[in-house]
């Protein structure tokens, strides 16, 4: 057996079934899932209580394809389900691929009980075992009459929680151990905090951070905050900020979310669920004024905005980032590649959700969040330093103000 790096720090857990599969009646699904939890509760001090309307430790859902967690399902066959290790947010959540035909005690489909019992093992902190007899063996082995939890799994789960006699007194405990990193362990995610809004005020300079978008266009660095943008070239800062909509006509006047300069020199802007393509400061011919939907690029319908977009010098490919997920655009930059989205933890130490990201003059990639920035170290696939540095150094600020005579390093 193999244990993950997180476990629940309480014994009494709750779960909520968010939806069921049409293949089985809702009542049957509830009973099967309850029985699957019993597999684990009989050998540990853990208890599992179904809740209907309140928040729960473990959320269970049936879904198809992309379902908002960075791990889209692949249709019938192959991947049947997945579950997140204990943690906050998505921790413990268990998802079944509804493209499968779910059955119970039958060879005519995939046995829900066996898969659920396996997935709940992950939700409690067990990883895959290479023991072919184990429930936690990753490949589906069909259904078994009168299933009993194999020894390997009993050992594994009791390593984490002890045997039933170890039941703790029912006193309030901190809910969970949260791993100190948010790597791709299906063990929770970094907390998603909404980006603060920036009403344009006199004091609201880029030096205080919270940059909406940043990029380099024809050797000038453009940074956007609220309804304005600033530009700094090799000779210093342009005298005044400019209203976005007075320079790029027909863009939303209240600011943008992200932009980048394409390989053909055109500029793509993102705002909400739309994007626009400009050639210099004119929208390309026949491009709809209201913009095109980002779903036309292949991102999921439930993606409401793009946080950041950047071209990675390492492979010269363009990436879109939203929350803790990212996509790679194809070489023509008109659609996302197969096998995305992926989890942002691959970009080690990059904070999420990002404010913006860009490729700088020095050929390096920088990620921005709040009042800090992180330089990315391509060959190690991590940020050069774990902690961010003050954003003013990147933008050319001194004493909290943009300095016109400062040239960037």
């Amino acid at each position: 057996y193999v244990t993950a790096n997180s476990k629940w720090e309480k014994n009494d857990l709750t779960y909520r079934i968010e939806n069921t599969t049409p293949d089985l009646s809702p009542g049957r699904v509830r009973r099967i899932l309850s029985d699957a939890f019993k597999v684990w509760s009989v050998v540990t001090p853990l208890t599992f209580t179904e809740v209907m309307h309140s928040d729960a430790d473990i959320l269970i859902q049936f879904s198809e394809g992309y379902h908002d967690d960075g791990y889209p399902f692949d249709g019938k066959g192959s991947v049947l389900a997945h579950a997140f290790f204990p943690g906050n947010s998505k921790g413990g959540d268990t998802h079944f691929d509804d493209a499968e035909t779910w059955t119970f005690n039958s060879t005519d489909g995939v046995d829900l009980f066996m898969v659920a019992a396996h997935e709940f093992g992950h939700a409690l902190g067990l990883a895959h075992s290479s023991n072919t007899e184990a429930l936690m063996y990753p490949w589906y082995q069909g259904y078994t009459d009168n299933f009993r939890l194999p020894y390997d799994d009993v050992q594994g789960i009791q390593t984490l929680y002890g045997s039933p006699s170890n039941r703790l007194p029912n006193t309030p405990r901190p809910p969970i151990v949260v791993p100190d990193n948010r790597d791709r362990d299906r063990g929770g995610e970094a907390p998603i905090t909404p980006r603060p809004t920036h009403p344009p005020t006199k004091d609201d300079t880029p030096c205080t951070g919270n940059i909406d978008a940043i990029t380099v266009i024809r050797k000038e660095i453009f940074f956007f905050k609220g309804s304005k943008f600033w530009r700094r070239g090799p000779n210093g800062l342009a005298a005044k900020p400019t209203e976005i909509s007075k320079f790029w006509y027909n863009l939303p006047s209240d600011g943008i979310d992200a932009l980048y300069e394409r390989s053909d020199g055109k500029i793509t802007f993102f705002k909400g669920d739309r994007f626009w393509v400009f050639s210099s400061n004119h929208m390309v011919t026949n491009f709809p004024v209201e913009g095109r939907r980002i779903t036309e690029l292949g991102v999921g319908k439930n993606v409401k905005k793009i946080d950041a977009v950047f071209t990675w010098p390492y492979n010269k490919r363009t990436y879109l980032v939203t929350g803790d997920m990212y996509w790679k655009l194809n070489a023509k930059e008109d659609f996302i590649e197969y096998d995305y989205p992926r989890d942002m933890s691959i970009w080690k130490n990059v904070p999420v959700p990002l404010d913006s990201a860009f490729k700088y003059w020095d050929g390096k990639t920088y990620f921005l969040k709040g009042d800090q920035y992180w330089e990315f170290y391509d060959n190690k696939m991590r940020t050069r330093k774990k902690d961010g540095r003050p954003i003013g150094r990147l933008l050319g600020c001194h004493n909290g103000e943009l300095k016109s005579d400062m040239t960037l390093r």
């Binding site: 192959s78 991947v79 589906y140 492979n315």
Partner: protein
């Protein structure tokens, strides 16, 4: 079935190899970072072969290090979507430490 021509055989093999890279990345045998940077980047031929062997060992198949028939059959089998191999960055307890 025997391939119609050398070109067909080569295409077939390349396609399977690409499937294998995707599979190895999806289930944790190639580190996520290597997966993003691509085969020309952080994953050498040796690392790729070692990853196939680790998969074969995990599944109790002969460790040939190549995409053979048994390995292809294994890839066709339905399974859990969680990774088999935890990235060392994910599991601090399994990391090596200096004494």
């Amino acid at each position: 079935a025997p391939a119609a021509s050398y070109q067909d055989a080569t295409d077939w093999y390349r396609q399977r190899e690409q499937q294998m890279v995707t599979y190895l990345g999806e289930f944790g045998y190639i580190h996520d970072a290597s997966r993003e940077a691509g085969p020309a980047g952080l994953t050498s031929k040796e690392a790729y072969t070692a990853a196939i062997k680790r998969l074969q060992r995990f599944a109790h198949l002969p460790e040939t290090g190549v995409v053979d028939r048994r390995t292809l059959e294994l890839m066709e089998r339905p399974r859990c979507g969680n990774k088999d191999e935890l990235d060392e960055t994910q599991d601090s307890s399994r990391r090596r430490h200096k004494r």
